[in-house]
Symmetry: C2
Subunit: 454 residues, 2 copies
């Protein structure tokens, strides 16, 4: 919440409790995003009161700007009490936001609301809800400006002027034929600077970047960012325009996808809600599976150590003291290379066919890093060791070189391999890579030790 919003919060609470008519003055100059911050900070009762006191168009802007969790609760509460007011609010909302909102409601409430809405609006919402989650269709909005290709720029400006208030953006208009087929894009900039008697067909740009309704939202964000688009048109199978996705929604997608990547890489299944408002059991469900899988896999480390202990390597106990240090080095080196490779993959700066180049690179980088740590390891083993000096020191030093190099290779190789299998590479999380390196790192260490001490 911005500081200015925080400062007026007490006054808003006071006004809501005593004289709601003062609210108009207090909130008139607030941006809807700040108004939404206020609503999120109020108790459910007061938030609902705020929503009913505000004019319908302001309330609709508030809902558009509220986070999903608060919005869903606030709106569902209102709708169960004042169905018509709730329907009127959604009538005013941006088409994409209201479809998102309806997606979070219970079936019965949703059906009642759709009943209370006009037929056109209710069909629009049903249509948007029918697209698969995270697809272009699911995040697009249907309140865009379509222009017949044969009208003049002056006629187009008049058309836009009449309908401006209902549209998500008027800066991009889409030229269509009588079937709704997308022919070209024309910006308000082009309309304003072109002579008034030119037709849309003459001034439009026919080289349109568009996306099919079923494409993933990540691709949508990539296209918008790459081509610096204010809005991306979404088309159906017959290349008819079905909706648009505006650049401000693309920012949200970029944030959301980055969050998912980060959480996967930390070994957590992506949360659907902000950390603090995620219920206890959800957190357990998102975290326990990976922990258990890695734990069960990690049981093998015990068996590796048991096996080598029984093979009578002299000084095995002393070797065991170095185990956490050596496996951690492999894991850290693996986390580094996995992080670099996964992020480069998700930014599209690396492709799974670059595998040879990447592995060669990690081999040389890993060897160099391994040597740096190996020297430190050698030195530290030398400080502590007295009896079997040379073999012990060499065992630790060489094991570090091997394990760090191996970690770098595993960390880079596993995500690339996952992409080839069609799995999200971010699943090769840091804990996953560390665990993989633990087992293999231990075997490497013990084999090296056996070589020098056995």
């Amino acid at each position: 919440m911005e500081t200015t919003t925080r400062l007026i919060l007490p006054e808003v609470i006071e006004a809501l409790q005593t004289s709601p008519e003062d609210l108009v003055g207090l909130t008139e100059e607030l941006h809807p995003a700040d108004l939404a911050d206020l609503a999120a900070a109020l108790s459910p009762e007061l938030a609902q009161k705020l929503l009913t006191v505000l004019p319908v168009d302001v309330g609709a802007r508030l809902l558009e700007n509220l986070d999903e969790e608060h919005r869903s609760k606030l709106f569902a509460n209102l709708a169960t009490k004042e169905l018509d007011k709730a329907a009127a609010l959604t009538d005013e909302m941006a088409h994409d936001d209201r479809a998102d909102l309806y997606a979070t409601l219970g079936e019965d409430l949703r059906a009642e609301l759709l009943e209370a809405l006009g037929e056109e609006e209710s069909r629009d919402i049903r249509q948007l809800l029918s697209y698969p989650e995270d697809s272009a269709g699911a995040i697009m909005t249907t309140d865009f400006v379509a222009l017949p290709a044969h009208v003049t720029t002056q006629e187009a400006i008049n058309l836009i002027r009449q309908n401006a208030s209902d549209k998500e953006t008027i800066y991009q208009a889409y030229a269509v034929d009588q079937n709704g087929t997308l022919l070209g894009v024309v910006s308000l900039r082009d309309l304003v600077v072109s002579p008034a008697d030119r037709t849309i067909a003459q001034i439009m740009n026919p080289n349109i970047v568009s996306a099919p309704v079923d494409v993933d939202q990540e691709e949508v964000a990539r296209l918008i960012a790459k081509y610096d688009l204010l809005a991306l048109p979404v088309v159906d199978r017959h290349h008819r325009i079905a909706g648009i996705i505006t650049i401000d929604d693309a920012i949200d997608v970029v944030q959301e996808e980055a969050t998912e990547d980060v959480q996967r890489m930390g070994g957590v299944e992506p949360l659907e809600t902000p950390y603090l408002s995620t219920p206890f059991w959800h957190l357990i469900r998102k975290r326990a599976p990976w922990l258990v899988v890695l734990f069960v896999a990690g049981l093998a480390t015990r068996n590796v150590l048991e096996h080598f202990s029984q093979s009578q390597i002299p000084g095995i106990t002393k070797l065991l003291w170095f185990v956490p240090l050596i496996v951690a080095s492999g894991g850290n080196s693996g986390s580094q290379s996995a992080t670099l490779v996964i992020r480069a993959l998700s930014l599209g700066r690396l492709e799974s066919t670059d595998v040879r180049k990447v592995l060669l690179r990690e081999l040389t980088v890993g060897l160099s890093l391994g040597f740096i740590l190996g020297v430190v390891g050698l030195g530290s083993a030398a400080v502590w060791e007295t009896t079997r000096f040379l073999p012990m020191v060499l065992s630790v030093g060489c094991a570090v070189v091997c394990v760090v190099t191996w970690g770098a290779l595993v960390g880079a190789g596993v995500p690339l391999f996952m992409v080839r299998l069609g799995i999200d590479p971010a699943v090769a999380s840091n804990p996953f890579i560390s665990s993989l390196c633990d087992i293999t790192g231990l075997i490497l260490y013990m084999e090296v030790a056996q070589l020098f001490l056995g």
Copy 2:
């Protein structure tokens, strides 16, 4: 690179080598972003030839869309050979992009180019280069539309029409007084729908969201995303408008900041260039320091194990076999909570004052996760253990519960603590948290074992 671009690449190479006049036809319909993809895929010589063959305005768009690394090389090569052509290209470029480009050039070349440019342009570039890296001033552009507050909407539209081609965006115009003080914002939408005789002062929105020149780019991106702005005005100390930052640049900032977070969390200092084009020694410099620090800290694990081995716990060797498993569980649990907390902090959904709420949460979640793993650990110890059955099994089971809970607390607490110290919480990387948990986890394990077995 898009598939269509990849398909015409051979033709473009052929045309560049034999008949450059064919290029105009080939590249005419390409979006500048695709043209930039082509330039990046060409050899340096052919890319330079492409840039000289294209009309200056198309070349400027190409440079605007090229990634920093290719752009800097291509432009520097051109400038050393054809200084005037290079200067002409920068004259046409967007003001923010050309300042970014000049920032990457050597001092001598930059001075020569500034000399070759007109005085106004060269002053503009010098001014933009004077702002600190990653500040609003450094990423803003100065080619925005400023309107005197007293002109009418009709006059304003005419003014915009005349200057549209030079401006980064014409969808937002800024009302200023004679000193350049920012008075309000007016959108092209408002201009188009308002009566022609209203003045800017009458229709502008005086509640402006703006940022000071020295604010961090992360805050800029946050404001643009929160208020769904197409452009954010940047003001100096006297509230005079100095430039604007457009939403498409905010997307780049969001991507860049997410990448930095991800890399820090993986234990790598953020790379300035894409992974594949980062030179070998840079990679070493970005990775070695953390690996060495963690390795040296990890040396303590050896001493912990030595210490407890000498305190004569019965069955110590068997206990040592479980060490990698138990420390990994603590590390994994810590990575999970660190990831969730760091991401929530960087999205602004968690504040450092939430520390008690977060720690309480991680205590209960950690205990639950610990019990789940503890039961598995207990079971597995039971399978292998025969001699000191109960104490061994209890040691391993209880140690897992303690270590996993402790990991969750450390992973959540350390990033919050870092924020309080004013350090980027992403520095509490997964490797860092794992290493911290390794040492403390071992002590916990050994203490628990001593309790049951000692």
